[in-house]
Symmetry: D3
Subunit: 161 residues, 6 copies
Amino acid sequence: MEKLTHFNEEGRAQMVDVSGKPETVRTAIAQSSIEVNGTIYEHISKNKVKKGDVLAVAQVAGIMAAKKTWDIIPMCHPIPLKGINISFEWHEEKDDHKQLVIKASVKTIGNTGVEMEALTAVSAAALTVYDMCKSIDKGMVIGPTFLMEKTGGVSSQDYRR
Amino acid sequence: MEKLTHFNEEGRAQMVDVSGKPETVRTAIAQSSIEVNGTIYEHISKNKVKKGDVLAVAQVAGIMAAKKTWDIIPMCHPIPLKGINISFEWHEEKDDHKQLVIKASVKTIGNTGVEMEALTAVSAAALTVYDMCKSIDKGMVIGPTFLMEKTGGVSSQDYRR
Amino acid sequence: MEKLTHFNEEGRAQMVDVSGKPETVRTAIAQSSIEVNGTIYEHISKNKVKKGDVLAVAQVAGIMAAKKTWDIIPMCHPIPLKGINISFEWHEEKDDHKQLVIKASVKTIGNTGVEMEALTAVSAAALTVYDMCKSIDKGMVIGPTFLMEKTGGVSSQDYRR
Amino acid sequence: MEKLTHFNEEGRAQMVDVSGKPETVRTAIAQSSIEVNGTIYEHISKNKVKKGDVLAVAQVAGIMAAKKTWDIIPMCHPIPLKGINISFEWHEEKDDHKQLVIKASVKTIGNTGVEMEALTAVSAAALTVYDMCKSIDKGMVIGPTFLMEKTGGVSSQDYRR
Amino acid sequence: MEKLTHFNEEGRAQMVDVSGKPETVRTAIAQSSIEVNGTIYEHISKNKVKKGDVLAVAQVAGIMAAKKTWDIIPMCHPIPLKGINISFEWHEEKDDHKQLVIKASVKTIGNTGVEMEALTAVSAAALTVYDMCKSIDKGMVIGPTFLMEKTGGVSSQDYRR
Amino acid sequence: MEKLTHFNEEGRAQMVDVSGKPETVRTAIAQSSIEVNGTIYEHISKNKVKKGDVLAVAQVAGIMAAKKTWDIIPMCHPIPLKGINISFEWHEEKDDHKQLVIKASVKTIGNTGVEMEALTAVSAAALTVYDMCKSIDKGMVIGPTFLMEKTGGVSSQDYRR
């Protein structure tokens, strides 16, 4: 049976030793989303072309959170990230609801992957949208949140959903 | 039309002035979940009764993240949290998949609510489970993540999903 | 001769005991600025009405920095801020240069003032503008940075520049 | 048998709900120490009267660490500290060794005590002395570290070593 | 006389330039301990085999603190840690007291050593045990805390206690 | 027209991908200053030769802030800094005023420059001086703050003011 690599001989959690893994370019893309009602959709999308820009704040939040993933997820390695990009897309839902799809792509040169950084970025961005719109409706739903793609390291470990 | 309260007169984001709101006991409960395959379920649930405890780490992650919500979500107020509790529950899914349901309840005495703290706690806990099990399967899916309940402040603003 | 209040009997720095001071509404307004050339001015101000918004990022930076003033300025008290607002204004300078004036107003209910939070907010906002425009010109100059106004606490200590 | 208050009904850790406890002035004093050899003692104590001041850096470290105790000790509450003071004293040891005794006193007005803040302050100060002198001797020993005194809250819970 | 390397020409502290030192695998092992009474020993060791796991929390605390050593110890370099492992062992003391011995081993590939990271990890773990058991007895004593071993860099600088 | 490199195709901010840039030694020197009245000058400069040392605290603040530049300036890369040095100099101003000039030099080996780290260091140091002297006079003025020099990377991009 495959082993959970985050545990030491006592069965307790550890930050796995990755010093023997190759230092290569590594990328990851993750996706989250948040479903909002029509009123919120109007606010966010109209504000975008005017001034108050929910998505600009959400994106800063996502980028800053990616950089502190190691401080949020206990067993994550501190990784000197080389690039982070976050993008948004609106999808239609039933009724007047819309789904804001959030994608983050993260890149580093290092000994271990950046899946958690990408997943943390989209999570923080989605939470920020919730925060900024919750005065209108607290019923917004975040997710599903998942890894879309991962490259680098031993190539057989590349992942594509 | 209802207004997004996070914007100032220039239409830019601000941290809303809550100094005029009453200082009362405020609580929030949020829920997230993560769907895992049978192998991961075995690992997590067996480890729980033995030693290596994924959920113990996830829960510490959730509690610590709740305390730094103000540093992750840009427009959130720093709030001196008075209590945080995180609990877990397994639900059956189709095939051999299981859904780990994560609930966080947060309490404070303050001028503004703690919805974001509860939502951040469950998000960080779910991300931590993903991190600790991703060596087995990267296809785990996080969410839906949502607010279940909020009390305190002006009572007409209490929320129950 | 007036005494520096940040030192203990050994002459070393301390975080002054403010537990005996009244808990009142306290506000502070600080100002900084950054002088940029015409090209940068074009970029920032045109982007503002389109999409890429330097000032939106600068403002998020200012708000988030205000919240961690206690972690940047060693002898500052951790203060639960109740509101932060940042605004921008362009002034003409000689040649084609423009000065971006940045103001932050901060509010709390507490035992000590929020001057440092306002000063830290405008400093971080100005540094962020520098960061985002430095690929065009590294000669931008930040400052002067100063306190404009402070209210709350013992009223005789109110300050207006 | 007395109960560990940091565990919830599932037997997992929680940040205990203190919202029902009285908001009172609370203080704590903790002590740590570091034993150094004669050469290091000379460096530290001579530098003190000249310029390079190990103890000044150690003290800033202690004060800043006290403020982030909640981010270092997982189940600690975020507490708005009102005052922190750190002092140093040299004690004779056998041979030419000296013991640097470090005391921190911390004060707040809140629902829970500040023992951990005082203990974290002296620990960080001692670690900083180690860091700044380790190029001379890596054999320095830190501790014992303990709580000396605690007041506030329900008075029957005052503690004096 | 050997020089303290943390001071610049003005005699003030600096973060020493290590860019000329070789980038090699570097490890450090540090030890701390905490002496507890019989009741606390029962709680911790019984909980370990059941559910509420003080040591699991302490260990997460140690790992997370190691990662932010650079933010706790002022002159420490930010170091991208590659692995952290923490282990526990009970030793008998007089009466019914027991000593919980905590060891942390830390590994990196870098220009400077990781002694402070290992020392910070065991200190944070010991403080966390204190925090979680202090409702039973505030008289617990932490330490001695010291470096056990250091390898890497110029080999003549390896250290073994 | 030159392009602002911090924006993605949607015109939103991103953390620019620097993984393709060469990993070289990079340095930056920045300067800030703070103008103080004669009383404050007396306090700071006399304390320096005695015990309470404003500049020692300011310098620790500058060094620690440089290390968290990536957490203060949203689009900055996390950079493993290799050395930081801060120095002070007094200049005469009209009346009895003096200007404290603060310089920070920062060094790394990496894919991107450290201008922001040097600018953040001097800003935090100046703010700390303000904080520690504001009980005497709130009219102190910080700045101008600017980049003096930058080396490393593609040599044609070296900058000297």
